[in-house]
């Protein structure tokens, strides 16, 4: 039996019920870092079992998204209905959770996505992850379904399933407050769904705090399908590290490293809204769904206009950058609102894509989606699409039950958000997501949908930027900018530096195709590891070229856990995570034809913006060539199936549920 099979059978074998593993005198031995547990919770049988996480699995997948994907692939059988009890929800803290640097409290939530049918996965910041680790658990595997609404109560070493009937119907803010009140502890941290998750809106998200969200791919819908209203945790135990003193010094170095970048300084003041200043001025922003590539009248959305609403900037656990606005809206018809956000994504969702020119519209809509527990991006993307269909006469007021989906109609947008969350009226159709909505509407509506594999794209216009375009086509969770977005492509860095970073020539021109497949591949590996160790992408090469990446990750892992990795080994972990995600998707029936872009990318040229971005489409032949190069870099064949030698090299060839190609 291979080492891997050994570990899997260890995982699957029944074990003692959850007990508090920490009482007693903890001796500082070399296993201290490994005492953290994975808990299997079956909501149908109410059986809860906790086991240690084998060190070998850590070495292969690290933690967070890495282990979550490994578990997803091995536990969720092919063709499972994502809304059935057979789907499983995986919650995983990053390997470095608790380290006071780089925003290392991030947590990964995964399942088979009810929106796309492929890998469902979303990352959440805030404070839930560290609290889960303080309670002694690093990973949760939740299967089955309760008959009545329930929430998980996790405290030092123990897990209970509690009644949540009194929480059902409550928004994400009230839910968290009520759980804290019920347990008489203000320090309880929660993952909660709002009414959107309860109503099985396919892109319902999971929320924590005032705005932290595991936004994409409908993880809140999966929770709702299990009648799981929330996961609440309160942990008071220690998080141990293998080299605490050196780690402390290195954390200072890391925080200084990131705060010395102009990017982090700007972000700590203006949040992610600062990105908009650059991208909209240049002409890289979807406007009116996809009709234009710059929001000409969008100056009110620039971050300086947020100042009049902002009362402070908040940070997630372990983050020196503090990029979240806390804002107050006092004078609108929807006031008073106290909320956190908005992010760059929301600027697009409720601003540029739907032709709303005022910051206030976004501030209200941001609050609504957070309250109801909806993915801001998906919501905005679908509404923008619906507005274009309305403009083109493909749908009309009969279809929208009277809603006037005219560009810029903010009241219609607020009402549609409410309808989507409650599955009412036209919102009920949009609540199904692109795949079903396209099928139901027909009439060529799919031409206007800016989505890949059923997931909406960001408000980014990738026609001028081949690297970004390749990234959204190949992302394992659908059109997604976080799997690989090589933002440094926009910085015109010297080619010598790019070659150093990426290991081979990459053009410094963001409109070029040269070397961009390599860029995307490299970034995918880095972000897979970023999500597996649980640090914030904004403190990596995602944003600033001299920000932490492989070398720093290596050192942090060594000082926190004692595990030694070379850069090559870490990259291999990234490959393993990404390939196993690919294997999951292939098993579900996805293939090269799904690594595609909407037709409009090839057919409609950009029309405005700076001269260098005008008149751009993605060249179909060059796109296919990039895809070929990209597959080759991953060690996959020309159809995107991992080659035998790749599977062997990554240790994925002997998985018990290893995917087999039908032709073989």
């Amino acid at each position: 039996m291979s080492l891997l099979q050994d570990q899997i059978s260890h995982f699957l074998a029944p074990s003692r019920p959850a007990q508090n593993p920490w009482f007693g005198k903890g001796v500082a031995d070399e296993t201290m870092v490994w005492r953290r547990r994975i808990a299997y919770i079956d909501l149908t049988t109410k059986k809860i079992v906790a086991k240690p996480i084998p060190k070998q699995v850590r070495q292969l997948y690290l933690g967070g998204r890495g282990i979550d994907m490994y578990l997803l692939y091995n536990h969720v059988k092919p063709k499972v209905d994502p809304l059935s009890p057979e789907n499983m929800l995986f919650v995983g803290t990053g390997l470095l959770c608790g380290v006071p640097a780089l925003g290392s409290g991030r947590c990964d939530i995964a399942a088979k996505s009810p929106l796309t049918g492929c890998v469902g996965d979303s990352n959440i910041g805030g404070f839930f992850g560290p609290e889960l680790r303080l309670a002694g658990f690093d990973h949760l595997v939740i299967s089955g379904k309760t008959e009545k609404p329930a929430y998980l109560w996790i405290s030092d070493g123990s897990i209970e399933i509690r009644d949540a009937s009194h929480l059902w119907g409550k928004d994400t803010f009230e839910t968290q407050e009520m759980i804290r009140d019920d347990n008489k502890d203000e320090e309880v941290k929660c993952l909660a769904i709002g009414v959107a998750g309860e109503n099985l809106v396919r892109f319902a998200n999971v929320r924590s705090g005032m705005k932290n969200s595991a936004g994409r791919t409908g993880m809140g819908c999966v929770m709702g399908s299990k009648n799981l209203k929330a996961i609440a945790v309160r942990g008071t135990m220690d998080i141990e590290f293998s080299h605490p003193d050196e780690l402390l010094d290195y954390c200072k170095e890391m925080n200084d490293m990131i705060m010395n970048t102009r990017w982090a300084r700007a972000q700590s003041k203006w949040g992610t809204l600062i990105i908009y200043s650059n991208t909209n001025t240049t002409g890289l922003i979807r406007t009116r769904n996809f009709q234009l590539n710059r929001f000409e009248e969008g100056e009110d959305l620039e971050p300086e206009n947020m100042d009049r609403y902002t009362i402070g900037m908040s940070g997630c656990y372990g983050c020196a950058v503090h990029c979240r606005h806390r804002y107050v809206l006092r004078e609108s018809p929807h006031a008073p609102i106290f909320a956190e956000g908005p992010e760059y994504t929301s600027l697009g969702a409720f601003g540029t894509m739907v032709d709303c020119k005022k910051m206030e519209t976004i501030l209200v809509a941001n609050h609504l989606v957070n309250k109801y527990g909806l993915d801001t991006l998906e919501t905005g993307g679908l509404i923008a699409w619906a507005m274009e269909l309305y403009e083109k006469g493909i749908i009309d007021e009969k279809d929208t039950a009277g809603l006037k989906l005219e560009w810029g109609n903010e009241e219609a947008i607020f009402e549609l958000i409410r309808q989507i969350a409650h599955r009412e009226g036209f919102g009920n159709l949009l609540a199904e997501g692109f795949k079903t909505a396209i099928a139901k509407i027909g009439k060529g509506s799919d031409y206007y949908a800016i989505q890949v594999k059923g997931l909406s794209n960001l408000h980014s216009d990738e026609r001028p930027t081949p690297s970004f375009a390749l990234g959204i086509a190949t992302s394992t969770r659908g059109a997604d900018h976080l799997r690989s977005r090589p933002a440094i492509d926009l910085y015109g860095l010297p080619e010598k530096l790019l070659e150093e970073i990426y290991g081979a020539p990459v053009s410094s021109d963001y409109t070029s195709y040269e070397g961009k497949s390599r860029m995307v591949w490299w970034q995918e590996l880095l972000y897979a590891v970023t999500d597996a160790i649980g640090v914030c992408k904004f403190q990596t090469v995602f944003c600033a070229v001299h920000a932490p990446n492989w070398e720093e990750f290596k050192t942090l892992i060594q000082l926190a856990t004692g595990m030694g990795f070379t850069k090559a080994q870490l990259m291999e972990v990234g490959e393993r995570i990404y390939t196993i995600e690919r294997m999951f998707n292939l098993r579900e029936g996805f293939s090269r034809k799904d690594d595609a872009l909407p037709e409009r990318y090839f057919k409609e040229p950009t029309t405005i913006g700076f001269p260098v971005v005008r008149g751009k489409t993605i060249d179909r032949d060059r796109f296919e060539k990039m895809l070929d190069e990209y597959y080759a870099l991953h060690g996959w064949d020309e159809n995107g199936f991992p080659k035998k030698e790749t599977l062997e090299r990554l240790g994925l060839d002997k998985e018990p549920s290893h995917m087999v190609r039908e032709e073989e």
């Binding site: 990017w263 200043s277 001025t281 300086e304 760059y344 977005r485 933002a487 015109g492 944003c543 700076f610």
Partner: protein, 100 residues
């Protein structure tokens, strides 16, 4: 239309974002410059006028645009200060920011 040695002045638009906008207090300014000016000339002029971060745009050691900042001319990222400018060119001065 003059030829030869006669210098005409041209106007370029300078879009100021992030810290540059903070310093100047405006989002956009028009700079009048000689017709054979380079990017370096404009940056020099702005550095003298506004000081502070404007003085750090060009790396004194290497003579190219510092990687701390992002300067584009008509959308194309500029490293070399010797780029010749034309009438109605649009410069963008900002910091590198492109995440998501």
């Amino acid at each position: 239309m003059a030829h030869g040695e006669e210098l005409m002045s041209i106007c370029v638009r300078v879009v100021l974002l992030a810290n540059f906008r903070e310093i100047v207090g405006k989002r956009e300014i028009i700079e009048e410059i000689d017709s054979n000016s380079t990017l370096g000339h404009v940056l020099d002029k702005l550095a003298k006028k506004y000081g502070r971060d404007f003085q750090k745009i060009v790396d004194q050691k290497t003579g190219v645009i510092s990687s701390e900042f992002l300067v584009s001319v008509n959308g194309r990222i500029a490293r070399d200060t010797g780029i010749k400018l034309k009438n109605d060119d649009v410069l963008m001065l900002t910091i590198p920011a492109g995440g998501g």
